[in-house]
Structures are given as C-alpha cells and as structure tokens.
Symmetry: C2
Subunit: 205 residues, 2 copies
C-alpha cells in the first residue's frame, strides 16, 4: 500500500522493522510511525545507534560473544575465573546468565545446536574451538571445569552429549545445569519430566 | 547488565528499541542481537533507512499525514476527489483506510481525540485547521462531504460530536462510518452495542 501514499523511505523502514523478531507487518508499521513522530527523540538516535553498533560491534575471536572490544570484555576481564568456561548456545543465553549474575567465569558461544535434520553438523558450530580451549584450560586451584549451559531441549542435550564425547581424555570436569522447579514456579503447571527431575535431585531442607 | 559485558553502543540500541510499541526490554534485546548478527543485511540498512526517513519525512502542512513530500502525495494527487475529506484520529488510521482502498478522497489527521481528563482540548488537535478546510471545501458535482472516520470509542465519538457542532452553518454534509458486524466476524463474539447497531442499520438482502 505504502507506495501509493508515502515515500519509499518509510516503506523501507517498515520492511526492515518487520524483519525483527517479535514484530510483524502491523506492529512494524506502528513502530515506524512512532519513530517518525518522535524524530528527534527516537528516529535520529536509532539511526546513529544502529550505525555506531554496526561500526564497532564484532564477534569475539575467543568466545563468540558480541562486543565493541575484541577479544570481548569478559575474555579480558582479570577478575574472571579463567579455569571455568560456561558453554551456551547463543549470545542471548550468555547475556541472560550475566544479567542473573549467575557465574563469574568465561563463556563459549556455540552458535546453535546440532541438528542433523536441518543440516547443522559439528563443523557449523564452534565446537573445535571449544575443544581447543578446553585442552588448554588450567584452573588456579582445583580442577578446570566446563559447564554445559545448553537449553534443556532434545537438540541442546544432543549437543551436550556430543561435546562430552569429544572431551574424553582431557583433564576437565564437565557439568550441566540442574533440572528442577523454576523459582516461583507452580508444580501444577510443570511437565512430568521436570517434576521427576526435581524429585530425583531433591536436597535436604 | 549490559554495561558489564557489552559496549555502550549495544546498550543504547537496546534502550531505543525498547521504546518501540510492541517491544519490551526482553524482545528489544532479542531484536538488537538479531540486528547485530545480521549486520550487513539488517543493521546497516536500518541505520541508513532511519537516517533517510528522519531527513526526508515530515508532517503534511495540509492534512497532517506523514510523507516525504510536503504537501503530501495524497493532497497533491490530481485523481483524488477533493470534495470529500475523511477525518481520522491518527496517521495509522489513514494508512489503514488506504490499504483497504476504501475511499479515494483527501484526509485530515486530527492527531488524537478530545480527552478532558488527560488535558487534551480542541486546541491540541488540528480542529481549527479542519474547520478552515471544511469552509473552503467545494465539490465538483454534488455536495462537499466530511466523513468522520474516528474510532468507535467514547473519546472518538465525543470528538466527532464536537466537530459536528463546530461545523454548524457550513454547507458541508457530515457523515460517519457505519457500525455493524465486522466482515468475517461471528455474532457470538460481538458486544451488544455492535449487534444492536447491526440490527438497526440492517439492509435489504
């Protein structure tokens, strides 16, 4: 429609916004209109922020995080426990763990999960790099550790198993996230797998 | 969180995206990550499109539409019926009517609705400009017409009544959109007001 009543610039903006996750064609139009109405507070700053991010942000050569520094802020942070690597599927998972302040270690972003049906094999993920990092992993006191923080999905678990196989022979402790009742969760709404896991891994009160 | 692990550029991008309607903090992070991962296909084009739109798009001096031309493409379109003005609350409504190809006339964007509780009075909307346009409205054959295409909300209807009062004495026919069953709608899901209106305005089959 828009070509009839608006310039191509607005159209282009709408089409690009519609490609964002969470925005469909209708919400992209609303977003574009909102941006145009708030030109100085929103549209121009967004243009600048996007250009600047595109200019400065890159993927960390070490861990796969995205950052303006390369190697990233985490990899070069001297206060991090360099004897532990948390393996995640995606940068979003890394961000989530950092928001939770869950761990103070290094990370490794796989870039997805193994998925033979979709043609995603080990060579499509940064698994070789992980094995290489793991082989050089040295803990200051205690044992070096790899925490497999992949999603609790079939693909995630398959990937975790594959990585564990590849790590065989290395002097690295491999752990995975605990399964159980989410904090604030109600038992009635949880699936049987989670409930069984929560009972199995029960702890003293 | 992000300041600990990412540069300020990503943070700024996330914060701006979170201000868009339909995106919360979580989806803004996902959107930012998506943009960063597709730098050349998405992030850079978005930066350019936003800058270009900010540079070229403005509010039409005549009708309040947003466009790269000013007066806008609709106001200067020689094929439009200049004897009819469709009055809408927002540019989004204008776009919706144009998408539907519902009418081939001019428009007038009010910029909102009267809302005394929120402190929105007639002087905050472009009502004076509308009355001025209506007073100079001349139809080629037949009578000049103002179609009040405001939302079927209390605020919309109040605004419509106010405009009708202000138009008194002018030689302009004032109409409003039909109320009734939405095309594809199921009676069971409609409110009583709509059903009553649909019965009242029934037509021969």
């Amino acid at each position: 429609m828009a070509n009839r009543v608006t310039g191509p610039e607005i159209d282009t903006l709408i089409q690009l916004l519609a490609k964002l996750p969470g925005l469909g064609p209708r919400s992209a139009r609303r977003a574009a209109l909102h941006l145009i109405k708030k030109k100085d507070q929103l549209l121009l700053p967004l243009a600048r922020a996007a250009a600047e991010a595109a200019d400065k942000v890159s993927e960390c050569v070490k861990c796969g995080n995205v950052d303006t520094a390369n190697p990233c802020t985490i990899c070069t942070d001297p206060r991090r426990d360099t004897g532990t690597i948390v393996v995640v599927e995606d940068v979003a998972d890394l961000w989530a763990l950092e928001r939770a302040n869950a761990v103070n270690s290094l990370y490794h972003v796989l870039g997805g999960t193994l998925s033979p049906l979709d043609g995603v094999g080990p060579e499509d993920l940064s698994i070789d790099k992980l094995i290489d990092r793991a082989s050089r992993l040295k803990s200051v006191g205690g044992k070096a550790e790899l925490i497999l923080a992949v999603n609790a999905t079939v693909e995630g678990q398959t990937t975790a198993h594959y990585i564990t196989d590849r790590l065989e022979g290395l002097d690295v402790k491999v752990t995975r996230l605990a399964h159980g009742v989410p904090v604030g969760g109600e038992l009635d709404y949880l699936d049987e797998g989670t409930l069984t896991a929560a009972i199995k891994s029960r702890s003293d009160f």
